[in-house]
Amino acid sequence: MIAEVGLAALWLAAALSVLQLMSGVFAVRGHDELGALVRPTAIAQGALAAVSFGMLVWLFLITDLSVKLVATNSHSAKPWIFKLAGSWGNHEGSMLLWVTVMALAGGLIALIERRIPEVTMRATLAAQAFVAIGFYAFILFSSNPFERLPMPAVEGQGLNPLLQDIGLAFHPPTLYFGYVGLSVAFSFAVGALLTRQVTPDFARAMRPWILGAWIFLTLGITAGSYWAYYELGWGGWWFWDPVENASLMPWLAATALLHSVSVLAARDALRTWTIMLGVVAFSMSMLGTFLVRSGILTSVHAFAVDPERGTFILFLLAIYIGGALAVFGLRAGSISEGARFSFSSREGALVFNNVMLSAILGIVLLGTLYPLLTEAFDVRVSVGPPYFNPVGAIFTIPMLLVMAVGPLLRWRQDSLARIKLPMVIIAVIMLATLALVVILGAYSLLADLGLAVAVGLAIASVLPLRGRNLLRVPLATWGMVIAHFGIAVALFGMASESAFSEEKLAAVNVGDSTQVGPWTVKLESVTPVAGPNWTAIEGRLQASYDGGEPTEMSPQARNFWAPVQETTESELATRWNGQLYAVVGNEASQGRWQLRLWWKPFVTFIWHGGMLVALGGLLALIGRVKTDLKRRRGEDFVDEESADAEAVA
């Protein structure tokens, strides 16, 4: 019964999205009587999609084995939190989550957004419905999550053990929230194009969604990177895996969009560019979904491979992107150019970095799709760090340098001579850092440059606060400062990990010790242990830093039995200045055990930096929503404009 209610709600939501699209189209053509239906339909559609997803979660929580999806992806012995996560830890469920979040977002805009002209709003919701229809069709016709089995299964088959991890349980939904936020930004862009309303007000309406999407993407990428780091047991934190790139590309586009939409809101410039980025950002999130869900690329994430579904998503991708580009091509020419600015101004710096971000995006995109292209000619290649690192760095380093000085520049018209002193200070700090790391013995060019730029950027990022009353600095400015500082922190971690990591691989007798960096690690014992659905070999280690108090570590090599799979459970000893990473391997000859150890100085800065970036985004979002609420309470409309101007002054 629960499954049938869920399916019925899904069909109804799909039907409403068709109504929403049609009435929206009528609204754009000037038929107001039907246009009035758009908002209520969007709200109802959101509610029905939520009911449908709620039913799926319920089925998973009670482990209803007469439903095929539950039987193939869950198990009655699983802890409840993983039953919950199991509802979206598979293809069908994750698609339902996608469309549910999207429908809820549409409902929310319909409920609260009153700042832009009504007809633009309706066109936006029509675009939103247009995107949603494709997903509803996809789910209903090729990935029905509510399908029953002819005979209920006796027991479920379980969830991929690699996914039975609390961090990963919330990793996909986080990215989906990001993707969906970008779909809302896309709908706004299409709505504004169709009704020729590309204004600062439109930018302010769109901005919270971009910020929200960007925060979720940042968190998703950060969490995904940490998961890959400790769960895969390979010691790396980024592999340039196609699926990692699939989440990085929307982030790059969203970062560019976030900055250009701020220029549009504050200065009414970069109108067409912002619309274009809105289309690109959404294209990247659709491409991401396609790459992950189709299994077209070889990847550690490709646990849901199905070429037929891939074709369907590719078809959707072509319709959305082709349609959006067509509308863009037809209408972009009629959008008049916004305010002018000098090249040495805040806008100039933002435009430069927008172009750099687009270039990096292009490089990542080419590198990710290249294996697909060559496969058409029956040549199999894989593209990895030797391509991405140096080629990406050529554009990343200039971008980071401009990012250090950009916030110090004034809007519209400024001269570099005015900020000569801070620029000299930043340059001196960077050169001094570079000299220091070379003296310390790190000779990797990219890592050394990374460390130098990171230190310089960290100092530069707080300079916009100097000489100001910190209590009166707007939240949005705090957000910018913290996010830029977070980038510096993350970059420092990445460069330090690359420059100073030490690795030790050895076969060790029980009772013997081995050295890695400043650590002495003693293998105390190796014992078999068991968990609810696995058995494991556990190594007990005593690790002491520089002869200090020893820390107990117990890495495992686990065998899951539902479904059958082996995983490596690494163990980390964290200090403020880095992490010791330990993996236990197989038994070697003469009773020795393989141990793999890494000492990674400052590696945790990578994820702390990522969190800071997300925190900066959150502060900016709160600041924007607060000024918006003020305006709603009937306070002066000028308030928001002045807040915008001040936030960037």
Binding site: F341, G362, L366, Y370, V381, V564, S589, Q594
Partner: protein, 153 residues
């Protein structure tokens, strides 16, 4: 500067930067992409010594041996026609066994031994590296033919 001109200048700058990025990427991809080889290709047209490539095939039964240091293994990868010796220092992936598929990332050494930095084996019961799927089909045909030949004797 007129508004119209500024837009034009910005577009030109952006296009130049993107084209530069594209050319750079294309150049780097030609040199840095790592090609996939099966043993027969590696024997007949070996890649340059030291160039990063991937080698895929079946781990030959009885070829796996651990060296004295306890962490280096040597084995032979074959595709039914030719074989390539491989050396790997590290912890073997969880589902690495003889007579099953593997993709080794690494480079060919001057002595003809493939030195692997990383081994991708069957990862779980659902995930198989894509190159291996086809490899095992090829292999399966071979095995069937050999079995039939044996039966005929």
């Amino acid at each position: 500067m007129k508004a119209k001109h500024q837009r034009l200048v910005l577009i030109v700058i952006a296009v130049i930067a993107l084209i530069a990025a594209g050319l750079l990427a294309a150049y780097a991809l030609r040199n840095q992409a790592s090609y996939f080889y099966v043993p027969t290709q590696m024997v007949e047209e070996p890649p340059a010594v030291g160039q990063a490539v991937r080698l895929g095939g079946m781990v030959q039964a009885g070829s796996l041996q651990t060296l004295a240091d306890g962490v280096t293994v040597a084995f032979v990868v074959g595709d039914g026609d030719n074989t390539v010796p491989v050396r790997f220092t590290g912890i073997l992936p969880d589902l690495f066994v003889e007579d099953s598929g593997v993709v080794a990332e690494g480079r060919l050494g001057p002595d003809g031994v493939f030195v692997a930095d990383n081994l991708l084996a069957k990862h779980d019961e659902n995930y198989v590296p894509r190159e291996l799927e086809e490899m095992t089909e090829h292999q399966r045909a071979k095995v069937v033919a050999e079995a039939e030949a044996e039966a005929a004797q």
